[in-house]
Amino acid sequence: MLKKLSTLGMTLFSVALLSLAAVALTADEILDQMDAEADALAEGSMISIIRFDNVYSDGTTGSNLFGSLSIPNRSLIYFIEPTDVLGTVFLTHDFDEVGVDSRLWLFLPLLGLPKELVSEEERGGSFAGSSLSYSDLGDRNGGDRDYDSVLLGEESIVVGDLTRTAYKIESTAKPGADVDNPRSIIWIDTEFFIMLKAEAYNDLGNLATTTESLELGEFEGKLTMKVMLATNHSEGSTTTISFLEQRRPDVDIPAETFLPENLHAFDAAFWGFIE
């Protein structure tokens, strides 16, 4: 889970340092390269401000503003808006060991203590009421372990006023794999190896979710995704995710910040999330 959250805002908008072996790559090699670029970006401390604009299936809307801190294997999301949940903190610890589940905590300020979320459904559940699940935010649904991928070719993808060339890769669940979406198609920038667009199909072959870049930006000299649109076609809801700010802190974020027992003392003002 750490990987998923630490790459929130990174995986989808990471930039390739080099356009290595851009010729004659296989689908797996391209996907590995995308993961490697995301991992490289996740190294070190990162501070982000992210906004979610949701349009729910019933037509109503809502917004969330989050501040995010991350270090390798640790991630913390601080709720800034709406104000009734101001101060709520979502904490994740992830582990490199295979088969070890991530641990999740939610700290509610009025209750004054963190509760560990031990639901098996959380990975498929909505992230803060948005159209995204944790699975959507994370890596490639188990990547090579669960899917067979093939390169379908290259296509031009228009993002805002940019036209990018992308690898088009189709991933199909391996027999017996326990996955939500047995088929997906992903478009990966051929130069910077960031995902520009993705489509996931459900068991019935219907389009379940799509993710697409609406605006690209730059971070540390790399191409990143600034605004993306996630659509849950099954539910009929959308979420526009805007990365308002991304920066490296002057000094690394202390690991103690990410301890559940310290969440009650989390200083949001210090990190610039609130005044």
Binding site: V85, T88, L111, E116, G125
Partner: protein, 764 residues
Amino acid sequence: MSRLIRLAVDHPIWTIVITLVLAVGLAIPMFHMTQETDFREFLDDDDPIIVLLDEAEARYGKSWGIMVMLFNEDTIFNETTLTKVEQMTDAFEQLPGIKNVTTPLNSQTIVGSATSISVKKAAPGGVAPTTPEEMDIFRTRVLEDENLVGGVISESGQAALINIELEVGADDYALTPEIVEIVDSYRGDGDELYIYGDAYFDTVMAEEMESDIALLFPLAILVMVALLFASFMTIRGILVPIAIVLLSVVVAMGAMVLLGFPMTTMSFIAPILLLAIGIADAIHVLNRYNEEIAKGTPKRQAILNTMEEMKGPVVMTSLTTAAGFLSLLTAFMVPQRHFGIVTAIGVLAAMVFSLFLIPAIMSLLKEPRVRDLSKGLRPLTRVLMGFEQVIAGHRKTVLVVALIIFGVMLAGIPRLRVETSNEEFLGKDHEAVQILDFTSEYFSGDMNLLVEFDTGHRDGLKDPTVLNAMLDFETFLLENGVSKTFSLTTLVRQMNERFNADDPAFYVIPDQQNMISQLLLLFTFSGGTLGNMALGDFSAGTVMGMYKMESSGNVSRLSGVIQDYLDEHFPEGGDLRVRMIGATVLMDRMFTQMNQSQLVGLASTIAAVTVLVMILMGSVVAGLIAAIPLILTVTVSMGIMAYTGQPLDMMTLMVSVVAVGIGVDYSIHFISRFRSEYRTDQNADRALQKTIQTTGRGITYNALTVALGFFILIFASFKGIRTFGWQIALTMVVSALSAISIIPAILVQWTPKFLSRYPWKRGA
């Protein structure tokens, strides 16, 4: 018209060819006939309730589907039964058009401890427990969750419910057989499986309508054949009227498809109805033709004389009958209007065929060998003669007796109860109703009511005042016959309790809105879904209540007390808009509006046919006299229902309309013939004698035909249709008796001036 009839007689082949081309042309669309049994489709799209429901569905989704109940005499908490639940769930989820499948295994439960909280499936992964320990944990978890008990698991643990929610627009007629097939493959092992739910009932009703038509229509034709044989004793006497009515049915059904009307539980009796009604004119025309032939008139002239004599009554009776059915255009429910239009088209088609096709066929065929009708009909003639003598000799007594009957029946009408529930329509012995009764013992009922609490602003639903108002309302519902309620209040209280290590003291709505917001955030973060409990921005949400319908009266009662509560606690213009938006308010509106519109429709039908008779016969008095048997028949019909405890429902409300539409024919035929006879010598007694012997006999035969035609409906699958059938049959007999008793009593007693004035047909 006479010229056209002459044309048909002189060009019979062309007439028949044109008729057949028309019939074939209209028969083709019949293969594209659709069915509609969804009650919601019975109202107009712009009906306020439908607009409200559409709006509600757009906000909260559609809450209808199919339920599968598993019952095990001992307990469903065994691996075999729960594995069936798991496997059936997997199979249902694979079907296209299924939105969601909820079972005791995959229902969300909230589990809390001092350090953690989780919203998870009641059985991990939604998989049936296999070890005794897992089964114990699962049993405890579901039976202690108040959201699940009565919802997906019975309190006794003997029944589990699988809720299959369909996508909006899903084809339930196509899905139901697939679901039934899956369920059938899991029967046995001590488990009883029952399927029910709106979508399932709709399909069952549609299937039974089809099989009923397949059975009843041929049966009705057989009855007609038997009666025609008894009447004419000739092949042509059978085939010609049957051909006329079959063609009329084809025209009506073809027109129904072309007009875009689906077949409904109401219109599916139209073919049988048309058989019974349409045959009357053909019988009268053939009878008259035989009379002419018996007099020795040459064939061509006999045909022309017959048509000259009969065109007036045929046109008049058809127009009045059609007008009677068209008066259903004022009806509240769409199927009633469709039924009225389709039947009117069929009646008019029968009129056209009787006027032109019968002469064409007669001109092609040889002159019939006419038997001595008076000999063949001696018993009936004798009865009618005796009847006529009683009427003529005791005119005032007849009228007084009629008045007494009218008064007695009228006095009973206030006792009439209105009942339009599915149970009443299908009948207590119908399998679907028995299943409903059985399942209701274990779950919270077959009807849901949905009440929306709309604050009008974002997060308004998280206000503790609003949630407490919802909670009070739920308490009120539970005190007034609702078995179970679902809303955000239970969830918030559960989350509060779970977050506080299951301390029951925290099973309350927190005082602070922020606390509620954070608990709900925790819930969704923990994998919970709110479903239709709240809108995404928490500006509005619903309270859903489940209860057993029992009767439409119960629905109306509940709807009424809820509305009173809402009016008192949430007056219009207040900060909180609270309104009923679900099935209950839809049903209530249907019940109340249907009855009102039907009574208005009935009055307008009688008025319309009376006015039509006045115009056609050129006499106000004639119209009023024609209306008397109709009013008496309707009163007797309703009175009998009242005294026998039969409720007024969607179908029986139509009895009176049909009775008027058909019954007016008897009045017209009788008055016409009486006037025709009276004009010859101004002798009322002789006119009565002649009318009774001729038209009276025709009316008697016709009433018997129609009554038997409708009586066939007692073999229908639905109790509502069966009741409709025998009531119409009874009403036809009453109608005919009224026509040949009250009308002659009045005519002979007072010999109104219109009898000698304003001849309504040339050459009379």
